[in-house]
C-alpha cells in the first residue's frame, strides 16, 4: 500500500469517528431542546387568545399603530416610523419561543444551541476529512450526500440564528431529522471512501451538487416552518372562532411565532432559494450536455428536479393569486418539498437512470 493510500485510509476512519461523535453531540442537543420545551413555562399561554378574542372586530375599525424607535431612545429627535398591519390581517403576537419565557427553559435552549454549534463543527470536520480522504468533493454517493446535507441544514439554521432571526423554534424538529438522516447514512447508506467514475469528474460536480444540497437544506427549513404554520394557523382559527384547543396543542403552539410570521418566514426562505434551485437545474443540464451529449433527456433525476421546480413555481404563483394564499399555498409548498425528497431518496432507490451510479 502506498503512503498516500495509508493517509487516506486514516483520514477516512477519522472522518467516520467524527461523524459518530457529531451524532453523539446532536443527541445531547436533542435532549437539551426537549428540556427547553418541557421546562419552558406555560404561563404565557393565552396571549394569542387574548389578542384574538379580547378585541373582537373593533380592531378593524380602529387599527393599532405602533412606533418603531430608531436605534433606541437616544435618538428621539429623529422622526419615528409608525407601522400598521394591512387591513384584514390577523394581528397576533408571536409566541415567546420554546422556553415559553421561562428562565430555566431559556437556559436549556441556550445549552441546546451551543451543543448544536459544537456538533455542527464536528460534523463539518467529518465532511472535510472525508473530502480529503477521497481527494475530491465529498458528494460521490448517498452516504456523502447525507452527511453534507445535514451539515448544511444545521449550518443554515445556525446562520439564521447568527443573523438574529427568530428561528430557535426550528431547533427540535431540525435536530430530530438530522439524527434520522445521519442514522440512515451510517447504517444503510454507508459506502467506503473512494474515487469517482469518469462521468463524475467535472468541476460541474462542485457547482451543481453543492447548490443542490444547499437548496435542499433551505427548502427543508422552509418545509418545517410551513408545516408548523399549518398547525399554528388552525390553532388560531380555532381560538378566533371561540373553540378550545387541547392543552398539549396550546402549550406547544402558543410558543411558536404567529401563523402570519411563520407563513412569511417560509415564503421568504422558499422564494430566496428558488432562483438558486433554477440555477442548479440549469447547471445540471450544462453538465449533462458535456457528459452525456444532451442537456435534457428526461432522465428520472432530471424529471424529478423539473417536477420539484414546477411545484415550487406553482407555490410562488399561488402566493400571488387571490384565493390561494395561506393554507392552500402552504399545501403546495409541502407537496413541492415532498417532490424534492423523492428526488433525493426515492429516485436513487426505486428508479434506475443515469444518475444511479452514485452509490445507492
Amino acid at each position: 500500500m502506498t503512503l498516500a493510500a495509508a493517509t487516506n485510509e486514516n483520514l477516512a476512519s477519522l472522518s467516520n469517528t467524527l461523524i459518530y461523535s457529531a451524532m453523539a453531540v446532536y443527541t445531547l442537543a436533542f435532549f437539551a431542546y426537549i428540556a427547553e420545551w418541557l421546562f419552558g413555562s406555560r404561563s404565557k399561554v393565552g396571549r394569542t387568545a387574548a389578542a384574538l378574542t379580547g378585541k373582537g372586530t373593533a380592531e378593524a375599525a380602529a387599527p393599532e399603530i405602533r412606533v418603531k424607535t430608531q436605534g433606541g431612545t437616544a435618538v428621539l429627535e429623529r422622526p419615528k416610523v409608525v407601522t400598521r398591519a394591512a387591513s384584514g390581517a390577523r394581528d397576533v403576537p408571536d409566541g415567546p419561543g420554546a422556553h415559553g419565557g421561562d428562565e430555566q427553559g431559556d437556559l436549556y435552549g441556550r445549552i441546546a444551541v451551543s451543543l448544536t454549534v459544537l456538533a455542527f463543527l464536528i460534523e463539518a470536520a467529518g465532511v472535510v476529512t472525508r473530502a480529503l480522504s477521497v481527494e475530491r468533493a465529498p458528494w460521490g454517493n448517498m452516504y456523502e450526500f447525507n452527511i453534507t446535507f445535514s451539515t448544511v441544514a444545521v449550518g443554515v439554521y445556525l446562520g439564521l440564528l447568527a443573523l438574529r432571526k427568530n428561528v430557535r423554534w426550528i431547533g427540535l424538529p431540525l435536530i430530530t431529522t438530522v439524527l434520522l438522516d445521519l442514522g440512515l447514512a451510517v447504517t444503510v447508506l454507508y459506502t467506503a471512501s473512494d474515487q469517482l467514475v469518469p462521468a463524475l469528474h467535472s468541476y460541474w460536480l462542485w457547482i451543481h451538487v453543492s447548490t443542490a444540497i444547499f437548496c435542499g437544506a433551505v427548502f427543508y427549513v422552509g418545509a418545517v416552518s410551513t408545516l408548523l404554520y399549518l398547525f399554528r394557523d388552525s390553532y388560531e382559527n380555532k381560538l378566533a372562532s371561540g373553540g378550545q384547543p387541547g392543552r398539549f396543542a396550546s402549550s406547544v403552539l402558543e410558543r411558536l411565532p404567529a401563523a402570519a410570521s411563520l407563513d412569511k418566514f417560509s415564503y421568504r426562505v422558499n422564494a430566496a432559494v428558488f432562483p438558486l434551485w433554477t440555477f442548479t437545474i440549469i447547471a445540471g443540464a450544462i453538465w449533462a450536455g458535456d457528459a452525456w451529449g444532451r442537456y435534457w433527456g428526461w432522465d428520472p433525476k432530471e424529471t424529478w428536479s423539473f417536477i420539484t421546480w414546477v411545484a415550487y413555481a406553482a407555490y410562488l404563483h399561488a402566493r400571488a393569486t387571490a384565493g390561494w394564499k395561506g393554507r392552500k399555498a402552504a399545501y403546495l409548498a409541502l407537496i413541492a418539498f415532498a417532490c424534492w425528497l423523492f428526488n433525493y431518496y426515492g429516485v436513487n432507490i426505486f428508479v434506475s437512470g443515469k444518475h444511479s451510479y452514485a452509490g445507492v
Binding site: I65, A89, D91, I286, H317
Partner: protein, 598 residues
Amino acid sequence: MSKTNTDTAGTGTTAPGTAASGAAGREDGDLTAAGSRLSTAPQEDAPTLPSLGVVGWARWFWRQLTSMRVALILLFLLSLGAIPGSLIPQTGQDETKVADFMERHDTLGPLYEKLGLFHVYSSVWFSAIYILLFVSLIGCIVPRTWQFVGQLRGRPPGAPRRLTRLPAYTTWRTEAAPEEVRAAALKILKGRRFRAHAAGDAVAAEKGYLREFGNLAFHVALIVMLVAFAWGQLFKSEGNKLVVEGDGFANTLTQYDDFKSGSLFSTDDLTPFSFDLKGFTGTYERTGPNKGTPRTYRADLTYSEGADGAERTTKVEVNKPLEIGDSKVYLVSHGYAPVVTVRDGKGKVVYRQPVPLLPLDSNVTSSGAIKVLDGYRNAQGAKEQLGFNAFFVPTFKGAGQGEMLSQFPALDNPVLAVSAYHGNLGVNSGIPQSVYQLDKSDMKEFKDSGGSLLKKRLEPGQTLTLPGGAGSITFEKEIKEWAGFQIVQQPGSGWALAGALAAIFGLAASLFVQRRRVWVRAVPGPDGVTVVEMAGLGRSESAKVPEELGALAGLLYDKAPGAPGPDPDPDPGSASEPGANATTDDPPAVPAEGAEKK
C-alpha cells in the same frame, strides 16, 4: 429630553384625522388608488359565467386561460403529468425496457401504449398541457408588458388624503417652509433613484420597477427556452461511430454506424470535419471494494475542421467533448479490438486486421465476429468465406476455473476464444447484417477430432489450425482499443442557455426587488408651523418599507429639522406613541408585518 419634536399627526389643516366616518368609503377608494398599478399581475375575477354569444364565450374562455388561477392549475398539472414518465420505461431512453414491459404486462402494456405512457414527454396530453400553459403565458405577458410600459411612461399616483392609514408612516413639525420641504424631498428621493414628482401639496415617488421588469423577463425567457429546445429537437442530428486506434472518421452520413435526426434536419447541415484516433487510454481502480471501476477514459485525437483544414491534436474525455461548430464529439464507449490474422491452406494471409468486439459487462468481457469475405480459397481451391465467433476477455481467470468471464477491465491476461465456420456469410443477401454477429444459416461448422464444433482459447501469439489444410487463425500479440464516439449536432443550445441565464436573473430581480411607493406631504399647520408627513407602501408588507422610510425621513429631517410641538410630550420616555386615530387603551399589538420582527 428634547422637546423639539412630537409625533403628532392630524394637526394640520388638511386634518387627516378629522375625516368623518361617512367618508370611509371615499377613503378606501383613495387608498386603493395609492396601491394601484403597483404590479401588473392580472386582476382575479370570479369565474362567473359569460353573457351569451360566441364572442362572449370566446372572451370568457380567454380570460380564464390567461388568469393566474388557470396558470397555477396548468403548472400543477404539468408537474403531475411529468411523473409517469419517470416511473414507466420510455422509448426515448430504453427501447428494450419498454419491450420487456410490454411482454410482462398483457393488459397494462397496451393500455399504456394507448395513453402514450411510453413516450410521455411527446404524448398528446402532455403536449396539450404545456402548449396551453405557454399560450396562457403569452396571453399573460403581452397585456402585462403594455401595462408596464404605461406605468413607466406615467407617473406614480398622488398622495392619498390620509397618509396615516398606510403601512409605514411618520410625521414631524418643522420651521422650514412647505415648498422648501417638498423641494428637498424631491431631491432626496431622486438622489435615492426614486421616480419622483411633485403632485399638489405632496411629493409622490416610486422605486423598484426592476421587479416587474425581471418578472416579465423571466416569463419571456421561459418562452425563449421552450422555442430553443423545440428548434434543437427539429434540427438535431445524432450518430455513433466506433473507431479503432489508428483509424479515422469523416463527418458524412455514410460513415456513421447509426444515425438519427430531427424532422427538419438535412444532411447538408452536417459540419464538415474529420478526426483520427491516435490512442485510447483507460485506467481502472486496482484495489478496494470498487476494484475495476474506471478512473480515466481518454481518447487522443488529431482532427481538422472543414474539408482540408489544418490538423490539430486534442484529447476527448468523458466530460470533455470536442466542439466543432455546432457539433460535439463525445466519448461514449470503449472496448478492445484484438488483431487477428487468417491464412489459407497455402499460408497466404487473407485477413489481417483489428476486430472490434462489443463489451458485455463492466469487466469488458466481449464478443463479436470475424468475417473473412474475399480472398480465401479452401483446400480444394474453391472460393469460400470464413466466419469465426469471437469471445474475448482482457483478464482471464485461468483454465478450468469456470466460465470465461473477465476478471478485470484492463489487459492483464487477455484470452481470445474462437469457433470456426465456413460457407457463405450471407452479407450480399440484401438484409442488413450486424458486423458483430455471424449469420450461420449458410455456414458449416469446422469439426474437431471429436466431431464437434472446432473452438479454441488463444493467448496472444497462439494459432488455431483449421482441419484438412483449410488454413489457420492467429491471435496476434497486438491488441488495439477502440473508442465509441457520439457526434451530436444541436442548434439552438446557445439560445437555450441565454434564455436560462435570463430566467435566473429575471427571477432574482422579481423575487428580491421590492416595488414600493413613498409620499411626502408638507403643509402649513394651523399655527403656521409646517407639518411634514411621510408614508410608504410596498407591494407586499415588508420590514424593508418602514426601514427605508425611516432612513429617508432621517435625510429629510436634516434638511427640515423639527420644531417644538404645540403641546409638550407628556411622557418622553415612552417608545410607543399613538398616531392620529390609534386606540390608546388597547395593548400595543405587534403588527402582522412588524418592523420589529425579522
